[in-house]
C-alpha cells in the first residue's frame, strides 16, 4: 500500500529544484502484466476471491448494460428532441443568441485553461483514455447531429476553444486580470445577449439552457448576498448577528423544493398588489436566496481560517474596517473557499433539475415528457441523456476543482 507516492511528495521534490523536473535515470522497470495482476488483483486469497466475485457481477451487469444500450435501447428519441433538450421552446430563429453565448463561454474557458496550465504532462495512459473519450464523443455527435449547419456550429466551438487555449498560453500571466474581468462581465453580457435587443423573454427559455442560466444567476447573485450574511453573522452587534444566524439557519433548514413552493405560491402574496413577477423570475429569486445561505456558511468557514494576526496587522498599519475587510481579510478568506464554492455550484446546478417538478420546461422535464407517441417507453433513454448532460458539466467542474485545489495548495478540509 506504500507504493503509491502521494502527490505532495512529488511536488516537494520538484520544488527543491528550481527548474521543472527533468528526467534523470530511467524509472523503475514497469511491472510486467502478470506481475501487476498478481499484485493488484490477487495479492492474497481474500483479494483473489473478491476479484473473481466482483469481476463476475460487474461483468454480468456490464455486459447486460452494453447489450441494452446498443441493441434494445431506442436512442432516436434523443435525436428527435435534441433542440428541446437543449433550449426548450426557445424560438428557433433566435437561436443565434444562444450560440453567441456558447462561443463567449467557450472562448473564456479556453483562455482560462490556457492561462493556468503550466506543463503538458501526458503519459501514454492519459493520452489513450483521452483519445478513447474523444472518439466516443465524436461517434455520439455523429449519431445525434444531422446536417452541415449544425456540424459547422459545433465545429466552431472546438476551433474557438483551441484558439483560446493557445492564446491563453501565449499571454500567460498578463492575461490573468483580463480573464477574470471577462468572466465577471460575461454574466450580464449573456443576459443581454439572450434578452436584449428585442430578445427572448425569460419565460421562453427552456431546456438545458434554463438549468444553466438559473444556476449561474443563482450563484452569481448569491455571492455578494452570502458574503454580506457571513460578515453579518460574525458581527459583534447582537441584533445583526442573531438576524443573520436566523436567516441562514431558516433558509438552510428547509429543502429547496419547499422553498420553490414558497416562491411559487406564497411570494405573490408578499409582493405589493399589482407587482407580478413571472414564474421564472420568482424561481431565480428563490434559488438565489437558497444559495446565499450556503455561500454564507462557506464564506464563514473561510473567514474563520484567516489568522487573527492578519486583523491585528491591518489595524496596526491604520486600515479602517472596510479597507481591512476588502484588501486583507476577504481576499484570503475567499481564496481558501474556492473548492467549497465550486462544490456548492455543482450542487446548485444539479438542484436546478427540481424546476421540473414545479412545472418548468427544463432538461429533466423534457426527459419525462419526450417519451410519447412513437417514443413511449423510452423513458430510460431520455433520463440517461438528461443525466448525462448534467453529469458532464458536474464531472468536468469537479475535476477542474481538484486541479485548482492542488495548484492553490488549499488542503484545508
Amino acid at each position: 500500500m506504500m507504493d503509491r507516492v502521494p502527490t505532495e511528495l512529488e511536488r516537494v521534490a520538484a520544488m527543491l529544484k528550481e527548474e521543472p523536473v527533468v528526467e534523470f535515470a530511467p524509472r523503475r522497470e514497469p511491472v510486467a502484466p502478470s506481475g501487476w495482476i498478481r499484485q493488484n488483483l490477487f495479492s492474497g486469497w481474500f483479494s483473489g476471491i473478491l476479484t473473481i466475485l466482483v469481476g463476475a457481477v460487474v461483468g454480468y451487469l456490464g455486459f447486460g448494460l452494453l447489450k441494452w444500450a446498443f441493441l434494445t435501447a431506442d436512442w432516436t428519441v434523443i435525436k428527435a428532441n435534441l433542440r428541446l433538450y437543449m433550449v426548450g421552446r426557445f424560438p428557433p430563429d433566435e437561436l443565434w443568441r444562444v450560440w453567441a453565448c456558447v462561443y463567449l463561454v467557450t472562448a473564456l474557458a479556453g483562455l482560462s485553461w490556457g492561462v493556468t496550465r503550466k506543463r503538458l504532462a501526458w503519459t501514454v495512459r492519459k493520452a489513450a483514455t483521452r483519445g478513447a473519450l474523444a472518439v466516443l464523443a465524436l461517434a455520439s455527435l455523429a449519431y445525434l447531429l444531422d446536417g452541415v449547419r449544425i456540424w459547422v456550429l459545433v465545429g466552431a466551438v472546438v476551433v474557438i476553444y483551441a484558439a483560446a487555449v493557445m492564446a491563453g498560453r501565449l499571454g500567460a500571466r498578463r492575461l490573468h486580470i483580463p480573464v477574470i474581468v471577462g468572466w465577471v462581465l460575461a454574466f450580464p453580457l449573456i443576459i443581454l445577449l439572450l434578452r436584449g435587443f428585442g430578445g427572448v423573454p425569460p419565460e421562453r427559455w427552456g431546456g438545458f439552457l434554463l438549468n444553466v442560466v438559473v444556476a449561474v444567476v443563482g450563484i452569481v447573485l448569491s455571492f455578494p448576498i452570502g458574503i454580506v450574511l457571513a460578515l453579518g453573522r460574525r458581527s459583534s452587534l447582537p441584533v445583526i448577528r442573531v438576524s443573520c444566524i436566523g436567516i441562514i439557519e431558516f433558509v438552510r433548514g428547509a429543502p429547496l423544493y419547499t422553498w420553490l413552493l414558497f416562491g411559487l405560491f406564497v411570494l405573490p402574496f408578499l409582493l405589493p398588489a399589482g407587482v407580478v413577477l413571472p414564474n421564472i423570475v420568482r424561481a431565480m429569486i428563490v434559488v438565489t436566496v437558497f444559495s446565499s445561505a450556503y455561500v454564507a456558511e462557506i464564506v464563514r468557514g473561510g473567514l474563520q481560517g484567516v489568522h487573527l494576526g492578519q486583523y491585528e496587522a491591518a489595524r496596526a498599519i491604520g486600515l479602517s474596517t472596510t479597507k481591512m475587510m476588502a484588501f486583507i481579510v476577504l481576499p484570503q478568506a475567499l481564496r481558501s473557499t474556492i473548492p467549497a464554492m465550486i462544490s456548492h455550484f455543482i450542487s446548485l446546478f444539479k438542484d436546478t433539475s427540481l424546476l421540473a417538478v414545479i412545472g418548468f420546461i427544463e432538461a429533466l422535464r423534457i426527459a419525462r415528457i419526450a417519451p410519447q407517441g412513437q417514443f413511449s417507453g423510452d423513458l430510460r433513454e431520455t433520463l440517461i441523456f438528461a443525466g448525462l448532460l448534467f453529469w458532464m458539466v458536474a464531472f468536468a467542474m469537479s475535476r477542474w476543482s481538484q486541479r485548482l485545489e492542488r495548484r492553490l495548495g488549499v488542503g484545508e478540509r
Binding site: 488483483l41 441584533v239 419547499t258 413552493l261 402574496f269 489595524r315 479602517s320 474596517t321 444539479k350 438542484d351
Partner: protein, 414 residues
C-alpha cells in the same frame, strides 16, 4: 460597526489632547464626540436595523393579509381541523375523513420512516464503498471510484425518477415478479421481506434475552480481564456471542411462540404477510440511499486519508499489523474527523426525501403540495412544512453534536 474604533482612535485622541491643553474635563470631550462615539453608534445602528427589519416584515405581512383576503381565504390554522379528503396510500392508520392535521401527521411519519431507514442503509453502503475505494485490490477500487463519480455528479431527482420509473416499473407484476429464494419478493408494485412477528411469548422471551445479554456481558468482562492479566488475545466477541445466542435459543425453545418469522408469499395479485414496502417507498428509498452513500463513501475515504500520515507510520514502526493499525490508530481518529460532514449528509438525505413528490410517496412535501392545492392556504402550510423540516434538521444536528462531543472528549487538552 465592527470591533475597534479604527480610524476613530487618532481623532479622538487628538481631540482629547486639544481640550486637555485648554483645561477642560474628560467628560466634555466625551460629550463633544458623541455622534462619533463607538458605543453610541453601535446601539443606534442596531436600533435602526431592527426598526427597518420590523417595518419590512410588517409591510410583507400587510401585503399577505390583503392578498389572502382578496382571494377569499384567511391566515388562520383552523382549517387543519377540517376534513381533508386526501387519500394517503401508506403510513400509519388514516382515512380521508380525518382532519388535515391528521393527514399532516401521517405525512411526517412517512418522512421520518424513509429518512430513518435511509440514513442507516446509506451509512452502511457508504461505509462499504468508502473502504472499497481504499482497497489494495485494483478492481474493487476502480468499481467503487466509478460508482462515486457517476452517482455524485448526477442530480438526485433524475436518479430517483430513474430507479422508480425506469427500473421498478420495468419489473413484472407481483404474480410474475422476482423472488429471492422464495422468502423475499420484488415486483413492480413493491417489495416484501420476511419480518419478525411478535407473538404471545414475546415478553417472556424478552426476559430471556435480557438474561442472555447480562451473561454475555459477564463473559465479555471476564475475557477482558484474562487478556489484561495474561496478555492472551481475549477473543471477546468469539466468547460472548455464542453465549448470547445459546441463551436466546434455549429461551426460545422453552417459551414457545415468542417471535415468528413472517415469511411473505404471493397470493394471487398481492403479497400476503411479511413486511411490505410499497413501490413508491422502495423507489425513493433506493434512490436516496444510493445517492447519499456515494457522498458518505467520500467522507469515509477522506476522513481515513485525513488522519496524519505520521500516525500510520508510527503504528507501522511499532510493529502493529495493518489491521491493528486501522483498528487502534487510524479508525478512531478518522471517525472523529468524519462526524461533522456526516451530519451534513444525514441532513441532506432528510431534505432530499422531499423529492418523493416525483414518485408519489406520501411524505411531507407531496402531501403538503396536495394540501395546498386542496385547502388553498399556501402560506400557513408552507410555514408549517418549513418549521417541521427545521425541527427535524435541528434534532439530527443535536444528536450528531452529542456524538461529536463524546468522541472528541478524549485527547483534547485544550
Amino acid at each position: 460597526m465592527w470591533t475597534g474604533p479604527g480610524s476613530l482612535g487618532p481623532r479622538l485622541a487628538h481631540g482629547l489632547r486639544f481640550t486637555e491643553m485648554a483645561g477642560s474635563s474628560v467628560a466634555e470631550v466625551q460629550r463633544a464626540a458623541i455622534w462619533r462615539n463607538v458605543r453610541f453608534l453601535r446601539v443606534v445602528g442596531q436600533l435602526v436595523f431592527a426598526v427597518v427589519v420590523v417595518w419590512a416584515f410588517r409591510e410583507l405581512y400587510l401585503n399577505l393579509e390583503y392578498g389572502v383576503r382578496r382571494v377569499g381565504t384567511d391566515l388562520s390554522f383552523d382549517f387543519l381541523q377540517t376534513r381533508s379528503g386526501i387519500p394517503i396510500k401508506e403510513g400509519i392508520a388514516y382515512d380521508p375523513n380525518q382532519s388535515y392535521l391528521r393527514a399532516y401527521v401521517v405525512a411526517v411519519a412517512n418522512t421520518v420512516r424513509v429518512a430513518g431507514i435511509g440514513v442507516v442503509l446509506a451509512m452502511l453502503l457508504g461505509l462499504v464503498i468508502g473502504v472499497a475505494r481504499l482497497s489494495p485490490n485494483w478492481l474493487v477500487r476502480k468499481i467503487a471510484q466509478v460508482y462515486v463519480e457517476v452517482i455524485r455528479n448526477t442530480p438526485v431527482l433524475i436518479q430517483i425518477i430513474f430507479w422508480y420509473f425506469g427500473i421498478l416499473f420495468a419489473l413484472p407484476l407481483i404474480e410474475g415478479g422476482l423472488s429471492l429464494g422464495g422468502v423475499a419478493f420484488l415486483s413492480q408494485r413493491g417489495a416484501a421481506i420476511p419480518w419478525p412477528h411478535i407473538g404471545e411469548g414475546a415478553g417472556a422471551w424478552g426476559l430471556w434475552l435480557l438474561g442472555g445479554l447480562v451473561l454475555a456481558g459477564a463473559v465479555w468482562w471476564w475475557r477482558t480481564k484474562v487478556n489484561e492479566r495474561t496478555g492472551r488475545p481475549h477473543h471477546r466477541v468469539l466468547w460472548s456471542l455464542p453465549v448470547l445466542v445459546a441463551v436466546a435459543a434455549v429461551g426460545y425453545a422453552i417459551v414457545g411462540d415468542a417471535v415468528r418469522l413472517d415469511v411473505p408469499e404471493v397470493a394471487g395479485r398481492l403479497y400476503r404477510g411479511g413486511f411490505q414496502l410499497s413501490g413508491e417507498f422502495t423507489g425513493i428509498l433506493v434512490g436516496l440511499v444510493i445517492y447519499t452513500a456515494a457522498f458518505i463513501a467520500e467522507i469515509v475515504r477522506g476522513s481515513i486519508l485525513a488522519v496524519d500520515r505520521g500516525q500510520k507510520e508510527a503504528a507501522q514502526a511499532l510493529g502493529l499489523s495493518p489491521a491493528q493499525q486501522l483498528r487502534f490508530v487510524v479508525l478512531p481518529q478518522a471517525f472523529r474527523i468524519a462526524v461533522p460532514p456526516l451530519n451534513s449528509q444525514f441532513l441532506n438525505l432528510t431534505k432530499n426525501s422531499s423529492l418523493a413528490v416525483a414518485v408519489a410517496y406520501p411524505e411531507l412535501s407531496s402531501v403538503s403540495s396536495t394540501m395546498i392545492n386542496q385547502a388553498g392556504r399556501p402560506f400557513q402550510i408552507t410555514m408549517l412544512v418549513m418549521a417541521t423540516y427545521l425541527t427535524m434538521s435541528l434534532t439530527i444536528s443535536f444528536v450528531m453534536n452529542v456524538v461529536n462531543r463524546v468522541v472528541t472528549r478524549k485527547g483534547e487538552g485544550r
